[in-house]
């Protein structure tokens, strides 16, 4: 069986920064991702990031991917990248099982970091399985990674940052966004993103949701309706819009399968997006030597995932007796960065989620 000092599952912003911290500490790293390129969602993010310079603010996601990847590639033989590799099992003796090119193999590591990110949530409504109903992130992948226009007239459902940003990117691709529907009474993402699409003509409809998709073999329209204060549809308020694409952006759920599979304690924390692993203050799960960071432990912005990733890498290196050269100063600085990222009014949910998790575990 192949031996690795440290194994990182997921090459997104958290995994890449964890890899960098481990490499800086002198460890060898095997970085695994099921996609063809490392970077996770960064590779399709053509918008500029928020945050401060420390989290590459004002830089486009795709450029951050180039930076994070070159940061780890310069360690040459100490970094091994396994792309298009699915991790199908993680065991308590720190053995992982992988599939690549229809071939099954196992590896053992001293430390395993699970940074698998999240998947998109769907919304129940009539005909939600018709071709033409997409998750917003899937549309972003089609457009920005594969250069495929998903449709001509789109309804966006959900006004979080992903819904707002993907609407803007659809417009940049020459697609008409006919409306953006939000079930709540207020826009949930950053208002600057909402203003960007509104000034280019997109109607933002609060207290509104989709009742059903119209069409026999593919989407030809959508029936919308107004919602009351308790989020119930108001009979008689329905109206229809002709369109060919419905884009759902109603939040993300952490990809927690591997934590459950390895037998780590997992708890449900609604504010963090769903099932998340119980972790200690070194990002270690309840399984010795198995760590977790990024959206897999709670849905946040990529900026927080990068900070958590580096901290996790430093802690994992420490546990392998490979101290990071600036261990204590880096950890202190990273703690401060996270505190600022989680201190604004938009991070209220995250704060509630972390408080709850603290109480549960």
């Amino acid at each position: 069986m192949k031996q690795c000092e440290s194994i990182i599952i997921g090459g997104g912003p958290a995994g890449l920064r964890a890899a960098k911290a481990l490499l800086e500490s002198g460890a060898r790293v095997c970085l695994i991702d099921r996609n063809a390129s490392m970077g996770g969602q960064l590779i399709k993010q053509t918008h500029m990031f928020f945050g401060s310079e420390k989290q590459h603010a004002s830089t486009r996601g795709i450029s951050i991917q180039h930076k994070l990847l070159s940061d780890v590639m310069r360690y040459g033989s100490r970094i091994e990248i396994l792309s298009e590799t699915h991790v199908v099992g993680v065991y308590q003796d720190k053995v992982i099982a992988c599939m690549k090119d229809d071939r099954f193999f196992k590896m053992r590591g001293e430390a395993i970091i699970i940074a698998t990110g999240a998947s998109e949530k769907h919304l129940p409504f009539e005909n939600n399985d018709l071709p033409g109903v997409y998750a917003a992130g899937a549309v972003q992948t089609l457009m920005n990674e594969y250069g495929i226009k998903p449709g001509h007239k789109v309804l966006m459902v959900g006004s979080g940052n992903i819904g707002l940003i993907v609407s803007y990117q659809l417009m940049q691709a020459g697609v008409e966004v006919v409306a953006l529907a939000e079930a709540a009474s207020q826009i949930s993402g950053y208002h600057v993103h909402a203003s960007k699409i509104k000034r280019h003509g997109v109607d933002i409809l609060t207290n509104t949701s989709i009742k059903r998709a119209l069409g026999e073999t593919e989407v030809t329209g959508a029936e919308l309706w107004k919602l009351d204060e308790s989020w119930q549809g108001i009979e008689g308020s329905e109206w229809t819009i002709d369109l060919d694409t419905i884009c759902i952006s109603v939040g993300l759920a952490p990809l927690s399968e591997l934590f459950q599979q390895v037998g780590a304690n997992v708890e449900y924390v609604r504010e963090l997006g769903g099932n998340v692993p119980v972790i200690d203050n070194t990002y270690q799960t309840t399984i010795d030597g198995v760590y977790a960071c990024g959206d897999a432990i709670g849905i946040e912005e990529a900026s927080s995932a990068m900070v958590e990733g580096e901290m996790t890498g430093i802690y994992a290196a420490h546990a392998m007796a490979k101290a990071h050269p600036n261990e204590s100063t880096r950890l202190k600085a990273l703690e401060e960065e996270l505190a600022f990222l989680r201190s604004g009014p938009h991070a209220e949910k995250i704060r509630v989620g972390y408080k709850k998790r603290g109480e549960v575990s």
Binding site: Q186, V192, R199
Partner: protein, 160 residues
Amino acid sequence: MIEKDGVAPLEMVAKEFPSDPDILYKPKAIIECYKEIPCNPCETSCPFDAITIGEDINKRPHIDFDKCTGCAVCVYNCPGLAITVRQINDEGALLKIPYEFLPLPQKGDSVNVINREGRVIGQGVVKRVQNTMRQDHTPLIHVETRKEHIMDAMTIEVIA
């Protein structure tokens, strides 16, 4: 209302303008970042230290119009595209607008001038299209329009 449709009412916008209107005879950045979000590239990119957010990056930016030269570096560094540069002169209003759509207008083109609600409020003439490597795909359109639109103009629309 900005919380419901993303549109800042003009009373809210007016507070971001210099209190003395004569200050706008020189170009000044108008920052429309109305809500606290963790973000500070406007502060760190300003070559003249005219914008302050401070240690807590959630705070809203504050601009010192005495220091601002209207250079527009913050305009293309703002991830929210929430900053424009505005100036008045005897003929009209001159704006520098971030514009990330294709096709780009050309110098001399007539374009529609659009307000925050997405409605056409008038016409303008493109004076310059600034699109350097440093701007990283956020071109700036310098557009001249009527003086009365100094506050409600927000973007442009290329006329096909």
